[in-house]
Every structure is written in structure tokens, then in C-alpha cells.
């Protein structure tokens, strides 16, 4: 009797004990910071004295509305996000398609496309900073070889954003390519066979078989890349070797992540930084909601 009851308890509660560590860690390192940040966002609080908080209600949020630096950062985040995500996913898709062919040493190429992803942001960015140097950079040297003028990559608004996007593209294309490749290999071969029988060329097969089959995967990579683009931080921070979080003398490549860092860790305004963090979170929620609506409509068609 007793034994069977213990057995039932065991059966019932043990699974919870097994999953508990994750939730405990999540509560401590995920949920608590999230809530605490939200709480701090409603206060005026300085990093020099984080214990004294003055309640200001939604003021930290409402002031973002008139904060031209915030809007500038948001604009930069969107442009850099588009400049990096769109080509990145397109190239990744193409690369995956090439890797999907039967080729000699395919494992080598698969590892090779992933190496940029395994490089640290800091190391990669520092190399790119040298490549994009104004006076002695290799990119400008290459431009001069083909007879073009040197570009001031750090100071131009579009030029700097393009340069930062290049770093992102370089790092993440291989990663996305491998995800696409995995999905491609799950596409049933019969689809290609029948397409081939119908006389479809390689390119037509790619457009009409591969891409439609990959739609959920493409959606997934879009979501992940969007989140990554919204949080873009390391590349623009290190691209501005001298100044740190300003994102260039005209804030021309200051992303939301950088602005958050500048407010919190340079200007030491914890409350304002928290508000920016929450604003970023809300922006992501809105994007996610919009994406869901879009997908829902597509599915019902």
C-alpha cells in the first residue's frame, strides 16, 4: 500500500524535479533581470547609487518619444538590419543550394562556411576595422586599383552602415547556410525526380521545389536574424575603435543596443537604459505579432 503510493508520487512528481533546474536558473537569470529591468525603467536610478530609486512612472518611456538619439538609433538599427539580413539570407540560400550538390570534400566546405561563425566578434571586427581603414585600408586600396575614390568608411552614414553590415553578413551567412542545407536534405527526392521528368531545369527546381519546401525554415531564420539585428551591438561598438558607444561622430551607426549601453554604462543612467531595453523588447513583440498575422493570413489562403 505504502510502496505503491510512493511509486505513484514518484511517477507524478519526479518529472517536475527533473525539469526544475532549468526553471530555477531561468527564474534567477532570465525572469528576475527582466522584471527588475522593468521595475528600474519606472524609476530614476543612477549606476553610482543603484539602491536609491525615485519613482517617475512612465517618464523614462515618454521621453523616448522626444529623444532624437533614440529615433536615430532605431532608424540605424532598421537600416543596418535590412542591409545585413536580406543579402545574408539570400547568399545563405544560394550557398546551401551549392553545398547540396554532390561534391568532393563536401564536409570540408560545410566546415569552411561555418568558420566565420566560430570566430569571435571582437577578432573579426578588429580585422574589418583595418580593412575598412580610411588611409591605409585594404578596401580603399582595392577601390583605388580599379580607379575609384577612397571612401571614409567610418564617417559616411551609408558607408559606415554598409561596412558594419558586411561584418554581420560575413559572420552569419555560413550559419544560416547550414540550417538551410539541413532543411534541403529533408526535401523528398521524388519531388526533384518528378520535376526533372516534367522537364524542369535546375534553376526551376530550386525556385519551385526547394524554396517552397524551405518556407518554414526561411521563416525561422528570418525571425532569428531579426532578433539578432535588433540586438546588434558588438560589431558597431568595436567598429568605432576610439569612441566606444557613440557609434561615430554623428551617431551614424549607433544601434539601439549601443544607445542602451551608452545610457547605462557610459552615462550611468540605469533607469533610462532599462526603459530602452524594454522598448526594444516591445518592438520585437510587435514585429513578432505582425509576422504571425502575416503567416496566419498566408496559411488561410
Amino acid at each position: 500500500m505504502w510502496r505503491s503510493r510512493r511509486y505513484r508520487w514518484d511517477l507524478r512528481w519526479s518529472p517536475y524535479a527533473f525539469v526544475a533546474p532549468f526553471f530555477l536558473f531561468f527564474a534567477a537569470f532570465g525572469l528576475f533581470p527582466l522584471l527588475y529591468t522593468g521595475w528600474a525603467a519606472l524609476h530614476q536610478v543612477e549606476l553610482t547609487d543603484p539602491d536609491s530609486m525615485t519613482w517617475v512612472g512612465l517618464r523614462n518611456f515618454t521621453r523616448l518619444w522626444d529623444d532624437e538619439f533614440f529615433w536615430n538609433a532605431l532608424r540605424n538599427t532598421v537600416t543596418i538590419g535590412l542591409l545585413s539580413t536580406v543579402p545574408q539570407l539570400a547568399i545563405a540560400l544560394g550557398l546551401a543550394h551549392l553545398l547540396n550538390y554532390k561534391l568532393r570534400g563536401s564536409a570540408f566546405f560545410r566546415v569552411a562556411v561555418l568558420t566565420p561563425y566560430a570566430t569571435s566578434v571582437a577578432a573579426a571586427t578588429l580585422v574589418f576595422v583595418l580593412l575598412f581603414g580610411r588611409d591605409h585600408g585594404m578596401v580603399n586600396w582595392a577601390l583605388s586599383v580599379v580607379g575609384l575614390d577612397a571612401v571614409d568608411w567610418q564617417n559616411g552614414t551609408f558607408a559606415s552602415q554598409l561596412a558594419v553590415s558586411t561584418i554581420v553578413i560575413w559572420r552569419w551567412t555560413g550559419y544560416n547556410a547550414l540550417i538551410y542545407l539541413a532543411a534541403m536534405q529533408a526535401v523528398p527526392g521524388e519531388l526533384y525526380e518528378s520535376a526533372a521528368l516534367d522537364g524542369a531545369s535546375r534553376w526551376q527546381q530550386f525556385i519551385h521545389v526547394t524554396v517552397p519546401s524551405l518556407r518554414p525554415t526561411i521563416f525561422f531564420t528570418c525571425v532569428v536574424s531579426t532578433i539578432g539585428a535588433t540586438q546588434l551591438f558588438g560589431e558597431p561598438l568595436l567598429f568605432n575603435g576610439g569612441a566606444g558607444a557613440t557609434g561615430g561622430s554623428d551617431h551614424q551607426f549607433q544601434t539601439l543596443g549601443l544607445y542602451l549601453y551608452e545610457q547605462g554604462w557610459v552615462n550611468l543612467h540605469l533607469g533610462r537604459a532599462s526603459a530602452i531595453a524594454w522598448a526594444m523588447f516591445l518592438i520585437l513583440l510587435v514585429i513578432a505579432g505582425a509576422a504571425r498575422l502575416l503567416r496566419g493570413r498566408e496559411a488561410s489562403r
Partner: protein, 442 residues
């Protein structure tokens, strides 16, 4: 087959275990707590020192010397490369009272914020035996001391300071028909930063395009603002940079270097700036004492006998640091003793000899090792004499809690827009003011 497999697994396990053991062996030998007996049978205390950048205390052998004199003490240093990353961490650690080193370094631009907001968490070092107020430059001592309203404790002991000279390229000066002897060069602009600008114009007229006179307009600005007593704050602690003619004056003067085409349009402490030293892209740079070693590193052996250093137009200070001792540390008393020893005149003189960090204890200026110091790389320039003269002429500068933020935005937003983006000085100034207002507003 199974036997073979077991063998392979065992080999793997042994390998893994060996790796683990190797990992353990890397730990310092005296891992056992501070009060446990070590090899020599005496109680050992481990003191930690937290610094940013290449601070030089360790490199100059000061820790080793102290440990040799005090067998009961072991010193460990942790270093974070950039102060921008180091300082916020220090603040959070002070706030929570954990994660602190026994001694922490503080940069001069942060010291006012530290004395104003953190003095109650730090040990009053004026009371530590062996600390002699009279040995320090009065303005340096004042910077590390909290106001009377905040208790008046001296929480920071000065290490080095950054009296400035003008480093210049002899070969480029000669080519442009300017004097090359350091006394004559100093005389070119003695007493007035405007004369430095005039010298630049004369240089450009002869040297032609492609060779700049200064590295960057913001470097000039830092030097010029460093020579006025009042900069961003007034005596009452009010932010006055916007209306202070000294700040606007130095901004406009520095901006003329950009608008006159005398600047190489570089940003200091970036890779391109470093390359500028190696390629001789500019003829002069305002150099605090601590920058000499940097120039030597970046210009390399090829620059030897080309660089020299002359007196700056006016005495001016840029940079320098302090040591503070958090009360929350486990060995605050021992740490205070060490901090006092590390910043004592004798040790500052050694730091200068080994690393070129200029002493903030003016008691050292009479020592032969300081007054007679010459810099081999800079044509044997009498740097002890040049920088001591500058140091003693530096006015007692009013430092405020947000000096760093203001200085950084003036340089990296305002001046950089003028220098690198070709904006007008007025536009650059307004952009900087906007950014500073946003940064200071809580």
C-alpha cells in the same frame, strides 16, 4: 573486439583525467586560504590590485619589491584593458560591496565622481601611517579628497599625472624650414596656444599638402583645455562648460587646426592613429608624459632620432590616476599600507624611471633619477626637466563628476565632426552640446 574497445575507452579516460589534473596544477601554489600556513610557515595575506590598461606597477617590479620586503604579503593584479569597461564595473562592485579588489585604480576623469558619491565606501588614506600630504602636488592631493560636506576624507592617493609637452618630428620640421632644436622649437610657441597655430600655418606653407602639422584637432583641444583652471564645472560644482569662454575658446582654437587644413584628421587611440605614427603622417602631437612610450611603440625603431619633445605653449595636464581602497575589502588595513607604499615618492620615481609615468609627488622632482632623466628615443630629451616644469605650472583644475562624459562628447562628437566630417565649428559645437545635455540629463 570488446577488449580493444575497453582499452580505447580507458585510454580516453586516462587522457581526460590527465587533462583535468593538468588544469588543477596550473592553479597558484598558495591556493589555500589567506591565513593557512604556506611554505615558509608564516601566515600569508593575498592582496589584489585592480587596474585598467597597462598600469605599470607590476611591470616596474614594485609588487615584487613589496613582497620581498613583506614576506607575509602576496600581491595579485587583475587588469581590464579599457577604462570605459573598467569603471562601470568598479561602480557596480562598490554598490554591492562585492567583487572588489583590495586596491582599485581610478582615472582622473572619474575621481570627482568617486569622491562625491563613493567616499563613504572608501578608506581615508590621509590617516595611513607614512602618507605625507606635503610630498604631493597640491592640486593632485585636492582631487583625491572629498569635499568637507562629504566628510573631507582623502580617498584617492595620486599615482602619476600627465603634464604635457609637444612631441615633434625633427626631420619634418627641418624640411619645412622650422628650427629643430628643442629649445628653439619651444620658443616658437612659448606662452600662447595661438602661436602653436601660427607655427602650424608656417609649417604648412613650406611643407605643402599631404603632410599635416597635428595628428588631430581633438588632441589639441585636450591639451588646451588642460591648461585652464576652470573647465566644465565651477567651484560650486555647477556645469558651466557651455558658457565658460575657456572651453569654447579651446574648442574654436582646436577647430581652426581642422579648418586650416593642419590636421591629419585622425582619431586618437585607433589603429589608423597608430599607423599615422609609423608613416609620419603628422609633424607634431601634444604628448602627456605617459604618451612617450606609446609613440615609441607605434613609431618603432624607424622613428628613432626623428622624434623629439619640446615644452608646450602653456603648462597643461592630461590624465593620471589614483589608487583607492574599498572598505569592503577583507584586508583593508594591509591594502591601505600597500597603497601608501605604492604611491610614495620613492616608488613613483621608480615608476617614472621604468615606465615613464610622471610622478604626482613633487617631492620626487628634486631626485636625480627624475630631474636628470633623459629619453633615449626622443633624441635624449631631458624629459624630467621638461615635464617637471610643466607639472609645477599646471593650475589647480576644478574637476567635476561628469568630466569624462563632457570631455568625451566634445572630442568624439563635436571635434570629430569638424575634423573628419568637415562640419563648421559651430555645427560641431552644437552637436556636442546636444549629446552632452542628453548624457547629463538623468
Amino acid at each position: 573486439m570488446p577488449a580493444r574497445r575497453t582499452l580505447v575507452t580507458t585510454a580516453g579516460l586516462i587522457g581526460a583525467a590527465a587533462l583535468l589534473l593538468a588544469g588543477c596544477a596550473e592553479d597558484p601554489a598558495e591556493q589555500a586560504g589567506p591565513s593557512s600556513p604556506a611554505g615558509d610557515g608564516k601566515a600569508r595575506t593575498t592582496l589584489t590590485v585592480g587596474v585598467f590598461g597597462a598600469f605599470g606597477l607590476q611591470e616596474a617590479g614594485l609588487y615584487d619589491e613589496y613582497m620581498a620586503q613583506n614576506p607575509g604579503i602576496r600581491i595579485e593584479q587583475t587588469s581590464i584593458e579599457r577604462n570605459e569597461n573598467y569603471y562601470p564595473q568598479l561602480l557596480t562592485h562598490l554598490g554591492t560591496g562585492s567583487g572588489l579588489a583590495d586596491i582599485q585604480a581610478v582615472e582622473v576623469n572619474n575621481i570627482a565622481e568617486i569622491t562625491a558619491t563613493q567616499a563613504d565606501k572608501l578608506v581615508d588614506l590621509a590617516k595611513v601611517p607614512g602618507v605625507d600630504k606635503a610630498a604631493y602636488l597640491p592640486w593632485k592631493w585636492a582631487q583625491g579628497t572629498a569635499s568637507a560636506a562629504k566628510g573631507g576624507a582623502t580617498v584617492g592617493l595620486g599615482t602619476d599625472i600627465g603634464p604635457q609637452g609637444i612631441c615633434y618630428r625633427k626631420d619634418l620640421f627641418e624640411a619645412a624650414g622650422l628650427p629643430t632644436d628643442r629649445a628653439a622649437v619651444g620658443a616658437l610657441w612659448a606662452g600662447d596656444w595661438n602661436k602653436y597655430l601660427e607655427a602650424g600655418k608656417a609649417y604648412k606653407a613650406k611643407a605643402g599638402d599631404g603632410k599635416a602639422f597635428v595628428d588631430s584637432a581633438s588632441g589639441v583641444m585636450a591639451a588646451v583645455t588642460g591648461s585652464s583652471a576652470q573647465r566644465f564645472y565651477d567651484d560650486q560644482g555647477k556645469v558651466v562648460y557651455k558658457t565658460n569662454p575657456a572651453v569654447r575658446g579651446s574648442f574654436d582654437l582646436a577647430a581652426s587646426f581642422a579648418t586650416e587644413g593642419l590636421s591629419a584628421k585622425l582619431q586618437q587611440f585607433t589603429p589608423t592613429w597608430d599607423q599615422g605614427f609609423a608613416n609620419g603622417s603628422f609633424a607634431t602631437v601634444s604628448c602627456p608624459a605617459w604618451m612617450l612610450g606609446y609613440i615609441q611603440d607605434k613609431a618603432g625603431p624607424a622613428g628613432k632620432d626623428k622624434w623629439d619633445v619640446a615644452q608646450a605653449p602653456k603648462p597643461s595636464n592630461w590624465g593620471g590616476s589614483f589608487l583607492v581602497v574599498p572598505k569592503a575589502g577583507k584586508h583593508a588595513e594591509e591594502a591601505a599600507k600597500l597603497a601608501a607604499w605604492l604611491t610614495a615618492p620613492a616608488q613613483q620615481a621608480k615608476l617614472f624611471e621604468k615606465r615613464g609615468s610622471f610622478p604626482s609627488a613633487n617631492a620626487t622632482y628634486k631626485l636625480a633619477s627624475v630631474s636628470g632623466a633623459k629619453h633615449e628615443y626622443f633624441g635624449g630629451a631631458p624629459i624630467g626637466e621638461i615635464f617637471a616644469k610643466a607639472a609645477e605650472g599646471v593650475p589647480v583644475t576644478v574637476v567635476g563628476p561628469k568630466d569624462l562624459v563632457i570631455a568625451q562628447n566634445l572630442a568624439d562628437i563635436g571635434m570629430l565632426q569638424v575634423d573628419q566630417k568637415g562640419r563648421s565649428p559651430q555645427e560641431g559645437w552644437e552637436a556636442a552640446v546636444k549629446a552632452i545635455d542628453n548624457a547629463l540629463d538623468q
